[in-house]
């Protein structure tokens, strides 16, 4: 060909290309929130409903326990605060998990349906930059939503948090998010080959994961139940939200909350495991995407059957 051949492929160009791609793909997610201010009601206030339902369950039972044993009231009420706080933290984490399921895992399937996927796959950027952009945008937006839920939960339910080690708390939070979104990127690759099954699989990973990862109760309770309960908890811990929440609860409620007997592992050990999960999921996502892209190209599944 002619001089037009001189398209660049050096490292500097590739880094620039992929950074631009991340920003480009994150843009619709970040801008979307400004364009649709109604999300404040729908996505920050509404999750409070399910949180409220679980909070009232703990309150009802705790008040009955106080009535049955008034002498023990201070301890029961302190435990109630810790449980309510656990629910509020879990409710905030739900926002991230739902974002991972619906805006990461199912996203490539959705992009395929609306016709974007083939345009992405035809572009020269690295596919991880595409997923990275989706993750960065999703993380940013969902953090805003999760914080609103958290603040609303604290204000409405009067939860008291005690943070002794804010740096550790930030580290756990950040690593949990990276691991969660790494898992989302891995799922996104797997979902690439599926059709409507992908939607159903995401729907199937709501309640069962809320349960097995202890979104609304300390995960240690499930670990210590023995038999299948422990097995489910171990499986649920593969979802980074499980150990992440456990560590966050330890760091915001104090290690002695619930009598100190419902923690899975210590927070530093959980952080180490989360780091391993984060790195592992990102590597898995990288290879799964490359493999499945080739497979999809071979089987002709990069474009929707509706097109």
């Amino acid at each position: 060909m002619t001089a037009a051949v001189a398209r660049r492929s050096d490292l500097r160009f590739r880094i620039g290309l992929n950074l631009r791609s991340i920003v480009g793909r994150a843009y619709p997610r970040v801008i979307g929130a400004n364009r649709e201010p109604s999300w404040i009601f729908f996505e920050a206030v509404l999750p409070l409903l399910s949180i409220a339902a679980y909070v009232f369950i703990y309150r009802t039972i705790a008040l009955n326990q106080v009535a049955a044993n008034p002498v023990d009231a201070p301890r029961i009420l302190a435990n109630m605060n810790a449980l309510v706080a656990s629910v509020v933290l879990g409710g905030a984490m739900v926002a991230f998990w739902l974002n991972v399921l619906w805006s990461m895992a199912s996203q490539l399937y959705w992009e395929k349906e609306i016709g974007n996927l083939q345009l992405y796959m035809m572009a020269p950027m690295n596919r991880m930059a595409l997923l990275g952009g989706m993750a960065v945008g999703g993380m940013f937006m969902t953090s805003v939503r999760a914080v609103s839920t958290l603040v609303a939960g604290v204000v409405v339910f009067g939860v008291v948090f005690q943070v002794a080690n804010p740096l550790m708390l930030l580290a756990v939070f950040f690593v949990t998010l990276v691991a969660l979104y790494g898992l989302g990127m891995f799922f996104a690759s797997l979902y690439l080959l599926w059709g409507r099954e992908a939607w159903n699989l995401s729907a199937l990973m709501e309640e069962p994961i809320f349960f097995s990862s202890g979104f609304y109760f300390p995960l240690g309770g499930l670990y210590q139940s023995g038999g299948w309960g422990s097995a489910v908890a171990v499986l649920g811990s593969i979802i980074p939200a499980g150990l992440g929440l456990d560590a966050l609860r330890q760091l915001t409620l104090g290690e002695t909350a619930f009598g100190g007997k419902f923690w899975v592992l210590s927070a530093p050990v959980e952080l180490e495991i989360l780091v391993v999960l984060a790195v592992g999921f990102l590597i898995l996502a990288r290879y799964a995407l490359a493999y499945l892209e080739t497979l999809a190209k071979r089987e002709g599944k990069l474009t929707s059957r509706h097109q």
Binding site: S38, L83, R196
Partner: protein
């Protein structure tokens, strides 16, 4: 009448196909059951944890919430079934204009589409209840259903489902005019019912304004009468002053009112959507 019946049957068949044809029927049934059962497990472990932490059991509260949660499966699926029809036909399948202009009642068509979801949820409710009775007896889940209370149970169940359909269609009519958020509405409305209708805990735990909201929603009476029939004990729910027949009468009257309301609101939603040219709008993309 035969047109209504044919519409209902065809719509129910279509609803079943749309929900289930991504996989084999048995896999679909398992899928439909796993979600609600996992939801029940969350409640079980919440109870186990608070019991274990404080060392004091509260079997009546647990049985109360377990039964309420099992019947709540109907609420989620029926409301989703009705909301989803307009949204999915319009935005996703883009068939609404063809169904809408056909000489059938679109109202009956929505009922038919929702019916398939109700049928599937019957399995989920039965399995959740059976699991509770047979495996969670030691935690306090008990049920009784004497023969003489059977007619009352079925009448209240039918009324409960009717009122759910009516609420679903009333709110679904709003989706004629809504560009977005109807999916969120489908999740939000059950969320409101979950908190304010005495599903998991007696209304008395709510602040007085919350209790007032609960008492204004017909489903509160459905959950109350269902538990009165099925549980061998009663908790103070704030409705103790009413006997069974009075509760049933509240449910009946509100069902009739909501059915009338649903037809009126549906026609209004239709009219406004046609006037604004929104019957077949697509906005998702």
């Amino acid at each position: 009448m035969s047109t209504y019946w044919r519409t209902f049957k065809t719509a129910a068949w279509l609803g079943w196909q749309m929900d289930s044809n991504w996989t084999e029927p048995w896999l679909f049934v398992i899928y439909s059951i796993v979600k609600p059962v996992a939801g029940a497990f969350i409640l079980i472990f919440m109870y186990v944890v608070i019991w274990s932490i404080n060392g004091i059991p509260d079997p009546h509260s647990f049985a109360f919430l377990y039964i309420g949660n099992a019947f709540f499966i109907f609420v989620g699926s029926t409301l989703l079934g009705t909301f989803q029809v307009i949204q999915s036909d319009r935005e996703w399948y883009q068939t609404i204009r063809y169904v809408y202009i056909s000489p059938i009642s679109y109202y009956v068509y929505i009922l038919g589409r929702a019916f398939s979801k109700i049928v599937v949820s019957v399995f989920a409710v039965l399995i959740t209840l059976a699991f509770g009775v047979f495996l969670l007896g030691s935690y306090g889940v008990q049920m009784q259903l004497s023969l003489d209370r059977l007619p009352l149970f079925f009448v209240s169940l039918a009324l409960g489902l009717f009122v759910l359909l009516a609420i679903g269609i009333t709110l679904g009519a709003a989706t004629f005019l809504m560009a977005r958020h109807s999916q969120t509405l489908a999740e939000a409305v059950p969320g409101v019912f979950y908190v304010f209708c005495g599903v998991l805990f007696p209304l008395t735990i709510l602040p007085s304004w919350g209790q007032a909201i609960g008492e204004a929603i017909p489903l509160t009476y459905w959950f109350e009468i269902t538990r009165r029939i099925l549980l061998p004990f009663q908790l103070n729910t704030g409705l103790a002053g009413f006997d069974d027949l009075e509760i049933l009468a509240f449910l009946l009257v509100s069902t009739v009112i909501f059915f009338g309301l649903s037809i009126g609101v549906f026609k209004l939603g239709e009219y406004l959507a046609r006037r604004a040219g929104k019957i077949d709008m697509t906005t998702s993309y």
